[in-house]
Amino acid sequence: LYKQWIPDTNYENQTNWDHGAVPCGNDKVKFPALRKVSVFVETTHAVQEMILPVDGEFILNSGAGFYVVSGQDPDCGAGVTTQFKDSESVEWFNPALWQAAANLDDLQRGNFLFSVHEESVPCGYDDVVFKARSSFKVDTSSSESSIPVKSVSVLGKKFESRSEFSEYLGTRSGQLQFHGSSAVTVGHPGCEDPSGCDCGNSANRERICGSVTCASPNCRKPLLPEGHCCDVCGAIVTLYTAASFNLQTYRQRIHHLFLTLPQYKSIQLGMSKVFKPQRLMGFIPFGSSAVIQVVILDGEEGKQAERLARDISKDARAHGSNLGITGDEFQASSGSSSDQS
């Protein structure tokens, strides 16, 4: 999948300024001396004075720049001293800071996919995208020495070779954009298995869940999906698959069959291959097996989610042999499950 980083350090982003507005021609702009930052500038701006950080950079989009006016800028207020915000550390492993999509088009159109927390952060087989017209600063600290991904796109350039990207990380821009204890390494193989691949982020589970605040679930029997940090209200469908199962095709099928229906318009659905612990007689763990986990949330107590789970289950049974599905079960936070249905 494609995972896109959400925050930016763009000059035009008013949330990056302490006064909540992009500075204009009567304003004095101050960057804290030790704010190491890369700032993308999209258009032309008037400034009265700009104090730069001791280490930093301004990336000038074509047509972008700075000019000064003599006297007052009529399109600006009385003039304030405004600071570029020294935003709190923004971490790679924060699942709230990423958007996922099946391809670049969907990414651009805003057709994002829902994922469990561990998979919201880029998996080893994912293509990572930092928006083309944007600057950023990401803390890549992790307990592992490196963070492997398939590719990384920065400022519209896609890096697919390990050496090229590590060269980029050594440049001034690279150093201002990526910091932290581990290095992002590019060139990890993509997911070659049509039935899906395990994300591989469980090693970073603690770090990922550390930045998640869970809401207290408002349902009888909250569920904890594999790879998620919080108990949720909704339903989980587990699919057992044969070699012919194709995750991408199946994702599209579910989308077309169900998610386009009006009653499911507020549903969040995520599906992926996970390793599910196996339990002998229901409680003695004896290893794990790869299954397709479909997590369904409706933002409420889970009734709609349960309804969809039953629809998916019914579909799997009716068309399982064509789809490569050999078995299915579901659990809902209402307490009901496929065992009782």
Partner: protein, 97 residues
């Protein structure tokens, strides 16, 4: 811009990119990517000054210096006093022979 839109796919080299104004440990650095220029465009009444020096003016001076040097190389400069003295001396000696 044409070209800028096509950015996504094929830009392999690291340095083929937007110009930057950077600060490096307090140094102010202006950079451009490969094949790109840094240009100073002055208007007749506007000027670019580098620490009180008028850049445009001085660049003209470089060329006029070059012209004067070329002139000196072909036509000579002033006459060195030693030469003048020697010529005068010889002149006197020849006149009194």
């Amino acid at each position: 811009e044409p070209g800028d839109t096509a950015q996504g796919r094929n830009k392999r080299t690291v340095d083929n990119d937007q110009p930057r104004m950077q600060s490096e440990n307090g140094h102010l650095v202006f950079t451009t990517g490969s094949n790109k220029e840094i240009r100073f465009q002055t208007s007749p009444s506007g000027r670019v000054k580098v620490d009180d020096e008028d850049l445009t003016q001085l660049l003209k001076q470089i060329k006029s210096n070059k012209e004067e040097i070329d002139d000196i190389k072909s036509n000579g400069g002033g006459v060195p006093p030693d030469v003048t003295n020697k010529l005068n001396q010889l002149d006197t000696r020849v006149s009194t022979l």
